[in-house]
Symmetry: C2
Subunit: 327 residues, 2 copies
């Protein structure tokens, strides 16, 4: 069958550009035993993919030049040589940026019925699980504690904010527009918000928003925004390093405030992680979700051909919630 895919044409320098991507006409290969042919419904674009476009070691192997880009995707089964899935089934998995993907059934999961299948890329997928395990396993928020979330209006951040509220915490969200912050306060019940783009003195703003200091910092951004957090951490504070989007487009070493002196005087912890335990988290999140918690927002970009553009837009922070391409 006639197909189209998006390959890495060249490695980005700084902010990725349309020219770094190449659209190629291809044919779908014949199905092997246990495989299905999927028509793409939704494609996830995620900040961490920037790391895979770079040469050298990160927590996921880099994309090769000329390789199809891969990320989370949702598709409809249109042909099947699998005993598990039949045509019409909606599944999610790690897929190529293609109109059609051929994939082995073992790498696919049925989406949860009754909710939009796109949530498999957001609140009920990798970003939701990242929030769930990062906050609960590393952040370990306790009732009454203050939790600060940067990138709070992104897919991960807004799930973190809601889980922290469920845990009985004071939640302070940092995001890049007044509109996002209104959403965080009015829709998600976040206690206080800071617009880092319009706030001149982040330290004073945070100090005012966190009169009892900061017990948990869920960091999606790094850089100067995070520099304002460390001087306010409490004894035994936990900092969850989930993302550092402020530096993903930089090739220089990241210079700024060293947090180690604050770690020293407060017996604090800074920790990174990769989500591994999948099943439990999805079940618990789905339970909260069908019970009305957590809320989610999606920014849906229309058209397969706009996938690279949707990815690039992540770095100007235009999305509210999960950024997704609808094919």
């Amino acid at each position: 069958m006639q197909n189209k895919e998006i390959r890495l044409a060249s490695r980005p320098t700084g902010l990725p550009a349309i020219e770094n991507f190449q659209f190629v006409d291809t044919e779908t290969p014949p199905l092997g035993e246990g495989e299905v042919l999927l028509r793409s419904l939704y494609i996830s674009v995620d900040p961490y993919l920037r790391g895979r476009m770079r040469e050298g070691k990160s927590y996921v192997a880099p994309f090769e030049l000329g390789q199809v880009i891969e990320s989370g995707g949702v598709g409809e089964v249109v042909e099947s040589r699998s005993a598990t899935f039949k045509p019409g089934d909606i599944v999610s998995g790690y897929l190529g940026w293609r109109l059609y993907n051929v994939a082995p059934d073992q790498q696919l999961m049925r989406t949860i019925p009754g909710v939009s299948p796109s949530t498999a890329l957001g609140v009920l997928g990798m970003p939701g699980l990242t929030a769930y395990f990062g906050l609960l396993d590393i952040g370990k928020p306790k009732e009454g504690e203050t939790v600060v979330v940067s990138g709070a209006a992104g897919a991960v951040g807004m799930t973190v904010a809601q889980i922290a509220k469920i845990q009985g915490c004071r939640v302070v969200g940092i995001a890049g527009s007044d509109e996002k912050n209104r959403y965080l306060r009015d829709e998600l019940g976040v206690d206080a918000t800071i617009n880092y783009k319009t706030t001149k003195d982040m330290f004073s703003a945070l100090k005012e928003a966190c009169p009892g200091g900061i017990d948990v910092y869920f960091d999606n951004v790094g850089g100067p925004v995070s520099d304002a957090v460390y001087p306010l951490i409490n004894d035994r504070a936990r900092v969850v390093i989930c993302g550092q989007i402020s530096i993903y487009n930089s090739d220089k070493l990241d210079v700024g405030l060293r947090p180690q002196p604050f770690v020293l005087i407060h017996s604090a912890l800074i920790q990174g992680f990769i989500i591994t335990q999948y099943a439990d988290g999805v079940a618990h999140l789905a339970q909260w979700f069908t019970g009305g918690q957590p809320k989610h927002a999606e920014t849906i970009v229309d058209g397969f051909e706009n996938t690279p553009k949707a990815f690039i837009a992540l770095f100007s922070g235009e999305n509210l919630g999960k950024q997704i391409v609808k094919c």
Copy 2:
């Protein structure tokens, strides 16, 4: 009884100076029930005391101006109204920088017989326990892993190095003189050493010394020395923040390499701590010690009147092992 004590006369700016300390003639107070009068034998001078000379919150309350300086000390009981101790007993505790201290028996511990009582201030005291719990509880070194220790020739560092060797690790020590490094290699069996004062490219030197990357970094110093470590950490590396002596004399925010990006891509951990569990550690260390492990070194400065000078000398790193004043 005629006494002499050393008080904080003024708060240091930068490197502490003799003028920040004041010698005052006093009288010992009469003994209360359960108290003993101690003649000072050894006084511990420790880098962390610099933090207590600063105004504002740290993990220990600041010294007030005019207050006697306090630190670990070893003394001989010369008078007793305690059922626990009799004249002639040698005890350790948190004591004032005085020729004689009056102290309640509950705050004192008998020193371990058969070894120099000064070890209660070093390898069998706070520095030894700091090494023990910091390395084992946070660093969690596994056989075959690479452990890097900064400030490796200090009281804490050389205990860390030996415990890491006992755990079957490759140990790389960073210290400030060739003589210290010879001691680390020849006496303690450290696998490789780096003299940070004469090494121009710390990163390359570390890379060469750690061909398998770095699994555990026990950090006593912070600053540029530590900046060279983070780019070399392995997945799931553990960084123990024990001290940051490079900035203790600075009043500025600490600017340099932000380690968070490396924490992110390696799912690493950076953690500070305070030792709390006392008894177990001392017993285990004493057991290793009387069995020949760990070795220790002391730099002994003679004379109570030289206590401030011995403290100040810590920041030029002249001491090999525990810096102690002999009264």
